[in-house]
Every structure is written in structure tokens, then in C-alpha cells.
């Protein structure tokens, strides 16, 4: 177990954002190999590698591809580059440092599933990444690596970049597809799943940026090599975005199953004299871990077993100076803002949770507020069309449990024991 660069390999090598530089570092060997193998073999290879989606849910990629119905309809591949999960910045890094690896991965995946149309849905803030991708696509097209008859294989692929316009919910795959169709980005009722009725009602595979980039490495190195890393149920490596109260925040690629403490060490550890208070291990939606769990293996099953989740791979480190009520409040402000409003429990519940947390943090909390927070959370959990509802209460419920005393101290002591109320500006508190 340890730090290994596969997706991030040569990310900082000069010329990597140009086709020539990418090829000089082995780029496009995997596509040539894939074409020689044929679609079915490529799909089998990805299935045997055990690759699990890096977008959040960890769904096996080969299995997802196999769900496309064989009914003769046109198929689409959509790359999810909406990256909005708090604490996650790996997809942006891949796009900006290795745009061709993403494009090569999309080409291989589209070849494997028989899609002749693909789109990269980028969040609107990724303007610089979008410009890089557009330039890279143009270069790939002139080199015969996209467009008609790719590398003489007879396979055609048209690839668009699409710029979103600011909405976290558009990272949820069915909302993303609505947005890609030019609509308000609200999640669809499932089933039907995108494999059956995706963009324009056509069979669609939606995969995350890192998932698709990883496909390149799997085809190049082979399924056995890839599965020899990581754990049995979480094979391979994953890019972790490590941020918060560490000395050198950044992206680090580790074998899945590497202990959390190694990730924190790779990010430079905590500040001088600080001690660990909590870690959010999989983006702002993931329930917290406490210091006694710092040796927990960072893989899908270990995190699920302790009631958290691997999620987006965003690891947010919190030290002893940080208030847990303030942490929950900040995330609830986010979820209340980003709730699309379609489901009542999420739309109303996140807003009430936010209001109650403002009250507690600013010293106006009431005795019954802790029970109320729990009760409202439980009424959101499991009662919404998409996973944003559950996501919104992950940190809140886990901190209510692990830091009950700290919440209580806010109520009995009339405010935050860690940061004077004055330090929370009106803008930070938001409307009461």
C-alpha cells in the first residue's frame, strides 16, 4: 500500500497538454491496443480489472457498460466533469494537466460500448480547462484520433465539450443529462436509468473524469496488473484530494486501502502544535471519521463499514481549532443553496437545518434543538429522488453523534466556545 502515480503519472511533465508531449510519454498506445483488441475484449478487460467508478458511488464500470440494451439504438457516452463536491479537485487537475489522457479514455470507452457521440459536461467555472480540452480535441481530430475512421479502425467518434452554468446538482447524473439537454438541472425519477434512457432518451453511459482516465492505464497495463494493486473489492489506485488544515494540500494518488494517516502525512501533516479533530473522507457529503480511525484503510468497503463513504475522494482534514457546529453549518448552507427544490424533504429540510444551526452557532440555541436537528435530518434521509438529500445530513448527523458535547456547550454556554461569534461575519452566517 502506498503512493503510486498511474493517473497522475507525468502530470507535470513539460508539454503534457499538447499531443506531441502526451505521445512522448506513451500517450495513445492504449487506444492502439484497444483497437487491436476489439470492443468486447476491451469491455471484458475493464470488467476484470474491477474498476469502480470514481464519481462517488463506486459502481463497477464494466458492469455499468454492460447495462446498455442491445436494441440497435444510437448510444452516447457522457463524461461527468461537473466536480462540485466540497473538498474535491482531482478532475480539474486531470483536465488541466492531462487533457489528452481524458480524451483517450473517452475514446477507448466509447469504442468499447459502441458510442459514436460523446460529451464532456464541465462545470461552468472550468473555463480554462474547457479551453484546453477544446484545443486538445482539435489536435486529436487533425491527427485522426477523433472524428471519422479513428486510426483506420472504421470507428467514428464525435466529441463535444459542454459548459455548465453553476449548479452542484448537475453532478448527479440524471440532472446532468437534463442540463445537457438545455433544461433546468433537476434529477429524473429512476428507473429508467441512463443506460436505457439517457440523453435525448438514448442509451447513455455516464462516467466520471478519473474513471475514464483510469481506463487508459488499465488497457495499457492489463487488468491483472491493475487489480494487483489496492484491495480485493477496491482494486487499483485513486486520486485523493487532500485539503483543509494540512500544511501542503494537494492531489495524491494512492493504492485503495492505504491508511488515512499516510494520506494526511503526504499532505504535509497538521499545522505546528495542532492535533487532529476529525476528517471528512469522501467530500462534503461523507460522514466524519474521528482520530481513533486514522489508520482506517481508505477503500470503498472499509469506509462503508464504519458508516461513512469513499465518495468523491475529497479528504478534508479538521484540527482542534475547528468548531464542528460551524463545520456542519457551512455545509448545510451549501446544501440548502444547492437543493434543486424538486423534493420537499430536501428543499425545506436543508433550509430548516441551516436556520437551526445558525441559531446554535450564534448562541441562540435551545435545549430541544439537538433533537430537532436529528429529527429533521432523519426526515430527509432516504426520502428524496436523488442522493443530495442523504448527502446533506452526512456530516451533521455524524458530528451530532461524535461531538454531542460540543453542540451542547454551544447551547448551555450561549455561543461557540472555539470562535467568538464576532468572528463569524454576517455574510458567513447568512440570513437568519
Amino acid at each position: 500500500m502506498g503512493e503510486i502515480e498511474i493517473v497522475l503519472k507525468d502530470a507535470l511533465a513539460p508539454g503534457m497538454t499538447r499531443l506531441e508531449g502526451y505521445r512522448a510519454h506513451g500517450g495513445y498506445r492504449a487506444l492502439e491496443k484497444a483497437i487491436a483488441m476489439g470492443p468486447k475484449e476491451v469491455q471484458d478487460e475493464v470488467t476484470r480489472s474491477g474498476l469502480r467508478g470514481r464519481g462517488g458511488a463506486g459502481f463497477p464500470t464494466g458492469r455499468k457498460w454492460s447495462f446498455l440494451p442491445n436494441d440497435g439504438r444510437e448510444r452516447w457516452l457522457v463524461c461527468n466533469a461537473d466536480e462540485g463536491e466540497p473538498g474535491t479537485f482531482k478532475d480539474r487537475y486531470i483536465i488541466e494537466k492531462k487533457p489528452f489522457m481524458l480524451i483517450e479514455g473517452i475514446t477507448i470507452a466509447a469504442f468499447a460500448v459502441g458510442a459514436h457521440n460523446a460529451a464532456i459536461y464541465c462545470r461552468g467555472e472550468f473555463l480554462e480547462g474547457i479551453e484546453l480540452l477544446e484545443a486538445a480535441i482539435a489536435e486529436a481530430r487533425s491527427a485522426g484520433l477523433l472524428g471519422k475512421n479513428i486510426l483506420g479502425s472504421g470507428f467514428d467518434l464525435d466529441l463535444w465539450v459542454y459548459r455548465g452554468a453553476g449548479a452542484y446538482i448537475c453532478g448527479e447524473e440524471s440532472a446532468l443529462l437534463e442540463s445537457l439537454e438545455g433544461k433546468r438541472g433537476m434529477p429524473r425519477l429512476k428507473p429508467p436509468f441512463p443506460a436505457v434512457a439517457g440523453v435525448y432518451g438514448l442509451p447513455t453511459v455516464v462516467n466520471n473524469v478519473e474513471t475514464l482516465a483510469t481506463v487508459v492505464a488499465i488497457i495499457e497495463g492489463g487488468a491483472e496488473w491493475y487489480a494487483s494493486m489496492g484491495t480485493e473489492r477496491s482494486p487499483g489506485t485513486r486520486v485523493f484530494s487532500i485539503s483543509g488544515q494540512v500544511r501542503r494540500p494537494g492531489n495524491h494518488e494512492f493504492e485503495l486501502g492505504t491508511p488515512l494517516s499516510e494520506l494526511i502525512a503526504a499532505a504535509g501533516g497538521l499545522g505546528e502544535g495542532r492535533t487532529l479533530k476529525a476528517v471528512i473522507p469522501g467530500g462534503g457529503s461523507a460522514p466524519i471519521l474521528t482520530p481513533d480511525q486514522s489508520d482506517l484503510p481508505m477503500d470503498f468497503e472499509s469506509l462503508a463499514k464504519v458508516g461513512s463513504m469513499a465518495g468523491s475522494g475529497g479528504v478534508i482534514v479538521l484540527d482542534d481549532t475547528t468548531c464542528m457546529v460551524r463545520t456542519s453549518l457551512r455545509l448545510l448552507q451549501f446544501f440548502a443553496h444547492e437543493s434543486c427544490g424538486k423534493c420537499t424533504p430536501c428543499r425545506e429540510g436543508t433550509e430548516w437545518l441551516r436556520k437551526i444551526l445558525v441559531r446554535v452557532e450564534t448562541g441562540h440555541g435551545r435545549e430541544e434543538d439537538l433533537g430537532l436537528l436529528e429529527d429533521v435530518s432523519n426526515n430527509i434521509n432516504g426520502n428524496t429522488l436523488c442522493a443530495l438529500g442523504d448527502a446533506s445530513v452526512g456530516v451533521l448527523l455524524s458530528t451530532l453523534r461524535a461531538f454531542a458535547d460540543e453542540y451542547r456547550a454551544h447551547i448551555t454556554g450561549g455561543g461557540c466556545p472555539l470562535a467568538p461569534v464576532a468572528s463569524m461575519s454576517a455574510a458567513a452566517a447568512g440570513p437568519a
Binding site: 466540497p86 479537485f89 467555472e125 473555463l127 449548479a167 438545455g182
Partner: protein, 164 residues
Amino acid sequence: MTADFEAEARALRERYPRGTTALIPILHLWQGKEGYVSQEGIERTARVMELPPAYVESVLTFYTLFRREPTGRYRIQVCKNLSCMLQGADETIAHLARRLGIEPGETTPDGLVTLEAVECLAACDEAPAAQVNFRWCPRLTPEAADRLIDALAQGDAEVVRRYG
């Protein structure tokens, strides 16, 4: 501008020919020219897309990057989400608001700057993360924010090239 818009919007419709997919790109196109999407922007977009203006407005208002009001020449977006908050984003935002004399969401009376406090920008390793006109502006501490505003106000050549 109007003639350009029509031609470029039609090109976008050809690029994204299916359904109403071209709608969001065309709204980006208008906002890129005007800085925000006015009623005229809605109506012209509706005409190119052959959609009712009310439908265009319903889509427009779903997305936070589209602004409905005149916007400064430099749109500064500072992240306020958790990882940035832990690195002092609240102080940066409060400092900018004080210095510019506006609240987040507002524009300075001279039309130079619009300040916005936004959600995670996927740049948490560069906290406090920010963008100016959608170009990265990493580690925007209060001191860095002062230098940025000075440079914008003076029309510093490098800053204009980067964020212009």
C-alpha cells in the same frame, strides 16, 4: 454586437443541433458580450432557439453563473466553502466587501468589480480559492486581495491580459 450574436448563436445551434442543448451555450455567449443576461438577451436567445422567452428565463434562473443584473468589468468569485473557510475565506470576503464598499452579490458604483461569495470551486488546494472572470486566482488572502484590487483599478497590463 447584435449581428455577431445572431451569427455566433446560429453556429452554436449547428454545433449542438439536438433538442434545446444549444440554449445554455447561447446564454453563455450573450453573457460573455453583455456581462449579464438582460431581458433583451432572453428575447434574442428565445428567437434563435425558437422557444418562448418564459422558458428561456426558467432555465436561466436555475443556474448561478448567469447574472440578471449589470455586472462589473471584473467578476470576482471567492469560495466560501469548508476547505477555504478553514484557510480564512471569510476574512477575505469581509475584507473585499469593506474595501469595495459593497456586499457579496453587488457591483461597485464605478462598474469595475462585482464581488461574489461562491461554493466550492474545485480548487481547495489553493485556498482561499477565487476566480476573476472565470480565470483562476489562487490563495486570495486579504493582502493578495488588496494587491488584486489595486492592479485592477490601475489597469495593470499583466492583470488585464490575464483577466481582461
